[in-house]
Assembly symmetry: C2
Homo-oligomer: 442 residues x 2
Amino acid sequence: MNKNDALIPLSHSQSIQENFMNLPVEQRRNLFYVLARHDAEELFLNLSAPDQKDIFQVMTLPEQRSWLRLLAPDDAADLIQTFPENKRLELIELLDYDSQQDVLALLAYAEDNAGGLMNPRFIRLRPDVTVDVAIRYLRAQARGPIEMIHYAYVLDNEQRLLGTVSFRDLLLSLPNKLVSEIMAKELIVIHENLDQEEVSREFSRHALPALPVLDAEGHMKGIVTIDDAVDVVEEEATEDMHKIGGLQALTAPYFKVHFLEMIKKRGGWLTVLFISEMFTATAMGFFEKEIEKAVVLALFIPLIISSGGNSGSQASTLIIRAMALGEVKLRDWVRVFGRELLTGLTLGCILGSIGFLRILLWPGRTSLYGEHYLLLGCTVSFSLVGVVLWGTLTGSMLPFILRRCNIDPATASAPFVATLVDVTGIVIYFSVASLFLKGIIL
Amino acid sequence: MNKNDALIPLSHSQSIQENFMNLPVEQRRNLFYVLARHDAEELFLNLSAPDQKDIFQVMTLPEQRSWLRLLAPDDAADLIQTFPENKRLELIELLDYDSQQDVLALLAYAEDNAGGLMNPRFIRLRPDVTVDVAIRYLRAQARGPIEMIHYAYVLDNEQRLLGTVSFRDLLLSLPNKLVSEIMAKELIVIHENLDQEEVSREFSRHALPALPVLDAEGHMKGIVTIDDAVDVVEEEATEDMHKIGGLQALTAPYFKVHFLEMIKKRGGWLTVLFISEMFTATAMGFFEKEIEKAVVLALFIPLIISSGGNSGSQASTLIIRAMALGEVKLRDWVRVFGRELLTGLTLGCILGSIGFLRILLWPGRTSLYGEHYLLLGCTVSFSLVGVVLWGTLTGSMLPFILRRCNIDPATASAPFVATLVDVTGIVIYFSVASLFLKGIIL
């Protein structure tokens, strides 16, 4: 929070929520129960499903009924989904019949597509009524806590979407015009099976507060509102970052993840990486004789393999993010390859030169590196060019290969790329060394 | 895109935009000029500022005037901001007087706070008029392409915000009620200096399509709409990911970044990391004698230091993201330290056991590792426990230290942590080795 905020008093409900979020779970429950009903409702509606659950699960059944019915069907479905399978039906039965149908339909969708995000309740209008009739109809229809509804949807008899009318349009049009005359017919729609990442991209492309969701036959099934898109964008970014960082994506905030769960999500990948990294020991075993003859070669191994790893993780992070944002598509791989070839070569030459100068100008070079320090310098710098180029190409191409195999490109995590490059880096280094130093110190 | 999408025809403007975004720059301009004016406008309004610029900068001045005036002031300011300082005034003069004032005011704000995101145009109402009068007033006032406005803001004579009224409320209320009677007084507001990351967090907390922006005295300055928040969330996540991946954050899509710019953003960090990593060569220089005596020790160096690096980058990624999402605060560092201590120890024991078994059960263990392979196994596995613990603690604490020093925690990139841990990893390894093997093979 910015320090200037102190000058503006937070609104009542804003400060309640602020305080609430800073409390540990038990104290949250206590605070919740001392709030006035209106404040408690305001707070409950603004909580995320896991935070709602913390309070909700210690309530009596009649209380649960009251609070569950407060929620819009999509939010109720989200809350119900936080409970184990066997508890869900019991909770669904607390709802009224209409909501039960809505929630059951929502639970059938995958959580991470448009269908799973959508709210099945929206305001329908017929095209052949006047604005005046529409307004009177809306006055009668709008009841209860309807989420962010500023649009009515104009449907034909088969529930096919013909157009949208904003409340603003209704308000500003002449009362005797027909809905079909004032409705917007240029529709931005999304399909119920569209992945949530694509859904949020549609919102960022079109500045609209809600998008209608259609099934394959063009029937309108519900709306997705933009506030869900914000959450999705954050969620997807977190997932990608966790993967890039080399762990399985956590699905809850840091402190909410159970210790064993944390070990599983981090230990799993760490073990896989560890076992792959064992090949470095095997690879180095092949060069044991060379190391024995020229121990000085061993000194530069960490430097060389880590440079490959670093350039690889830069490249993979860049490409993974560009893919997630839709900036780079699968078919762009040739262009990316060309660019990264040049980039890798340039970066390799920069590091290679620094490495060369490091060895050439080091004060105790003869005592530390022997009389052939110049050749050693060449070995290190040529290896660096090779390893950095190889790391850059591996890091940039791996996301394409993974996506081609329908695996999330973010799996090409920085540590994963680094591990891949480490083993080959050792082979590159010793091959270059034998080129320069064979018959001299090898 | 989901394959089922093919079943629903995209809307006209949706498919135009789809096609447009897939074209290279020159072809985009050609397509733009053949579009009907209405379609071109629709497209232009939905483009990002850099994409608008591509088309805009090759237009004649009268064309530029027409297209710039199409944009809302905040979008016009964004477009103008893509041009160099000396060109901006010329562009501002293309606008009408009111818009000029708005744009100049917006350009004075930092781009990344609420003031820089906000639209200074919103609909004002007085509290003491009736709903009927308000609606007639709105009918007269609402003109031109106003962004996503579904709310009117009720201000007193000093421009202080008293409440908000949605168009829906106006539509559904009795015409003779006063605006002050139907307005919502529980206001969620943001301060003009609030950082954009916090602004987007406010949107994800409260399901509202727009938030009013106030100055320090409580005067209303404009509104920020939720579609800006979606863009901010993506932008901030990209920035963090790039930093975690070990490069300076790019500010444009992958293919739009100039080659030299790319080399600078990547080469800079890569060089810093490379120079730091040189300390590994220095550290290993200290242990040259030990390596000479027991070359077998060198075989496990990459394995050990990379395990430290991997566990460190996991931990730092986790904490950086949790901080960015507000899940972990600066004051939580003790709790995090405790948790990571336990986690690091557990992960270290897992990898240590695997490493121990690897050496113990390897077929050619005596010929490869010598007769003291058991002691070597102990050295490797105890080093692993130490290095993984150290990596985990370094990775998790570094973001706290950086934030404490007012540096972006995302600077604690995976490669940065790995480099830090590599040098200490070597020291840990050889210290443990001398403990187990002194007088035996050392």
